[in-house]
Amino acid sequence: MNLHEHQAKTLLRPHGVRVPPHRTVLRAGDAERAARQLIDETGAAQFVVKAQIHAGGRGKGRFKEDPELGGVQRVQSTAELVRIAERMLGRTLVTLQTGPAGRTVNRLLIEPVLPIARELYVAAVLDRVAQRICVMACGEGGVEIEEVAARAPEKILREWVDPVVGLGAYQARRLAYGLGLRDKAAKGAAEAFVGVARAFEQEDCTLLEINPLVVTQTNDVIALDAKIALDDSAAFRHPSWPDLLDTAEEHASELSAQAANLAYVKLEGTIGCMVNGAGLAMATMDIIKSFGDSPANFLDVGGGAGKDRVVTAFKIIVADANVRGIFVNIFGGIVHCDLVAQGIVDAVREVGLTVPLVVRLEGTHVEEGRRILAASGLRVASATDMADGARQIVTLAQPEHAAPASGSEAATGR
C-alpha cells in the first residue's frame, strides 16, 4: 500500500524525523482556516501547496484543465492560497509517473515555506542480497536519485541495519559527516537517519524515501517530502492501516480482487487471463505476448482456489471493457481441475459470456474437469497445452472473430 505525502510525514514524526507543521484540506473553502492556524502556530507568511496523489514528479507535472499550473505551488498570501486550492482540487494532474490519463487531486497539503540552505536525500530500502534494511544518503537532494546513481554512484552513501541493534548512532554519524555536514546540521541529520531506519522497521515499510531532506538556514534538518510504501503482509499487526488506504487511488477492479483475496493487476491489453500461481500467471502473459497480443490483466486465483474464487475472478475479468477474449490456464496441484471447471461453468451461467473463452486444464482431476466443461454446453474451446491455448485465444480474439461466442441459453446475465 502506498501512502500520501502527508500520511508519510505523520507516520515519520514519532520516530524522530522532523517534518514541517502542516494541514490537509479536501475543500478549497477550508484553505483559509488552515492558513490561519499555521500562521498562529508558526508565524509563517508564505505557504507551499502540494497536490496529494500517489505519484512523483508533481512539481514538474501540469494540470490537464490548467496547463500553466504545476502540482506544487508557492503562495505569498492566504488569498492566493485559496485561489490556488480552487484551481487544484478536483482537477487532473499529469506527471511523468501518472501516465497521460493523470490523477484527480482530491486533497492538498499546506505547509509554511522553509528557508532552505541545503537539500539532501535519504531513503531506506530492503536490500534483498544483504537481507537487511539499507539506509542510503546523498548530498544531492531534490533530484532524481537514479540519475545520481548512474552519474556518480560514489556520492550515494550506504549503511546496513543489523535487525538486532538497529541503525547505530555511529553509522548515522558516518553518513552525516560523509555528506560534509558539521555541528548542529550533522547532529540533526544523524537523528533523522536513525529515525528513518526505525520507522522503516517499526512501521513495516517496503520503501521509505525523503527527497529532499533539507538543512534550513538555522541548520535544522527537516523532511520536506516523504514517500512511503507499506508491506501489505504486515497489515495484521497494524490496525490503523485500513484508515490510510485511499480507495480513489486504486483501480476499482484491483480493490474488489483484493477483497476476494485474489492477486490482480490491471494491464492495458485485451486478453483476460485467469491462472493459478504468480509464476505461471506471468508466464501466461508472456506467451500471449509471444503470439502477438497483450494481456488485459495479471490474475492469480491462488494455490487453494475453490469454486467461489474462480467465480469472483471471472466476474472481475469480464467487467473489464477492454477484454476481447479470456484464457484460463490452470495447472492443478492443490487446486482441483474439476472445481475450477465447475467455477467457470457457474460464472458463465451467472454473468454471461460475450467474448471467446479458451480453457487449458492440466494436473489433478483433469479428466473430470474437462468432462464438466464438455457437458456444460457452453462454447468453451479446450486447449492441449499453454501454447495451444494462447494461440487459440489470440486468433479468436481478433476483430473478425469478435462476434458473441455465447452459445448457452443459460448465459443470459447480460
Binding site: R128, P163, S233, F236, V265, G277, G279, F298
Partner: protein
C-alpha cells in the same frame, strides 16, 4: 543421490491445522517419513498416527527429526521458524505465504551461524522423486531421474516438471525457493548443491522478475556448472515496471529486476534460455 532430502529424512510438521494435516497426509502417502507434529497446546494428540508435541525441543528429542515442514499461519510463522532454528533442525521448509518481509530479515539474522537451512517461505517445498516429498506439490507428476529443478514459483514448477516427465526426463530433486523478497535459501546455494550432486546431470532454473537472484545464479552457473547443461526460463518478460505481480518479490523497481537483464546474464553464463514456458522440457531434451 539427490540434494537436501531423501528416504531417510525424518520430518516433523509445524502447524497441524487443516492445511498442514491435508498436505502432510499427501507427503506420507508419497512415502515421506513423517515422525510427528508440533502445535502448541495440542501435545499428546495423535497426528497421522504419530505424536503431536507442544514444542520443537520435545519433538526433536522424542523423534530425532532432522527436517521441519512449516504450515504455521503468517502472523506466527516467524516464531515457528525461530523455534525450529533453536532446535537446530537441519532443513526447515516453510510453505506459509504472506509473512512480513522484515520478519524474514530477523529470522535470517537468527539463522546465521546455525547448522540449519531454511527453504522458502511462500514456496511449494522440496521433492526428491521416489524418495521423499516434503511440500505441497502434486507428487504424481514427478519421475525419478537426473534433472535438478530450482524455481521461485510453484505452479510454473509443476508445469516444468510435467513437461519433463512427459518427455521421460526424470528429476533428481525439485526445489521451490519461494517468491518473497527475503528467502531462506537462494538459487546460489541450490545450484552449488546440484553442481556437486553426481546424480544430477542437468539443471533447470525458473526465475522471475524482481531482485537480482538470477544474476547471482548466473555467476554460479559460469563457475560451477560448466560441466552440466543448464536451461533457464524467466517469467514476467511482459510485466510493467512498478507493479507487483502476485509474489511480493516479483516487482521491477528502481530500474532493477527486469527479465531482459536476467536473461542476458544467464545466457552469458552459458545457460540455454527456453523461448517460452511451453518449451522448457523440450529445451532440456535438446541439451542432453
Amino acid at each position: 543421490m539427490s540434494i537436501l532430502c531423501d528416504e531417510n529424512t525424518r520430518v516433523v510438521v509445524q502447524g497441524t491445522g487443516r492445511a498442514g494435516s491435508y498436505h502432510a497426509e499427501q507427503c506420507l502417502a508419497y512415502g515421506t517419513r513423517i515422525v510427528g507434529g508440533v502445535a502448541p497446546g495440542k501435545g499428546g494428540q495423535a497426528f497421522l498416527g504419530q505424536p503431536t508435541f507442544d514444542t520443537m525441543t520435545e519433538a526433536v528429542r522424542a523423534t530425532g527429526a532432522n527436517c521441519s515442514l512449516v504450515f504455521v499461519p503468517a502472523p506466527f510463522a516467524a516464531d515457528a521458524l525461530l523455534e525450529a532454528l533453536d532446535a537446530e533442525i537441519e532443513l526447515i521448509i516453510c510453505i506459509t505465504e504472506g509473512i512480513p518481509a522484515l520478519d524474514l530479515v530477523r529470522v535470517r539474522r537468527a539463522a546465521a551461524g546455525r547448522p540449519c537451512r531454511i527453504i522458502g517461505p511462500n514456496c511449494p517445498g522440496v521433492i526428491s522423486p521416489g524418495k521423499a516429498k516434503i511440500g505441497i506439490m502434486p507428487g504424481y507428476i514427478h519421475l525419478p531421474g537426473h534433472v535438478g529443478v530450482v524455481s521461485r514459483s510453484g505452479t510454473l514448477t509443476y508445469e516444468t516438471v510435467h513437461q519433463l516427465t512427459q518427455l521421460g526426463l526424470g528429476q533428481s530433486t525439485c526445489v521451490g525457493i519461494g517468491g518473497d523478497p527475503v528467502v531462506g535459501t537462494s538459487f546460489v546455494e541450490v545450484l552449488e548443491a546440484f553442481a556437486d550432486d553426481p546424480e544430477t546431470h542437468a539443471v533447470v532454473l525458473i526465475g522471475e522478475i524482481g531482485g537480482s537472484g538470477e544474476e547471482a545464479a548466473a555467476a554460479v552457473i559460469k563457475e560451477r556448472l560448466r560441466h552440466k547443461p543448464v536451461v533457464a526460463f524467466i517469467a514476467g518478460q511482459t510485466a510493467p515496471v512498478g507493479k507487483r505481480m502476485g509474489h511480493a518479490g516479483a516487482i521491477i523497481a528502481g530500474g532493477h529486476g527486469a527479465a531482459t537483464d536476467k536473461i542476458a546474464a544467464l545466457r552469458a553464463a552459458g545457460a540455454t534460455i527456453a523461448p517460452n514456458p511451453n518449451e522448457i522440457g523440450s529445451t532440456v531434451a535438446s541439451r542432453l
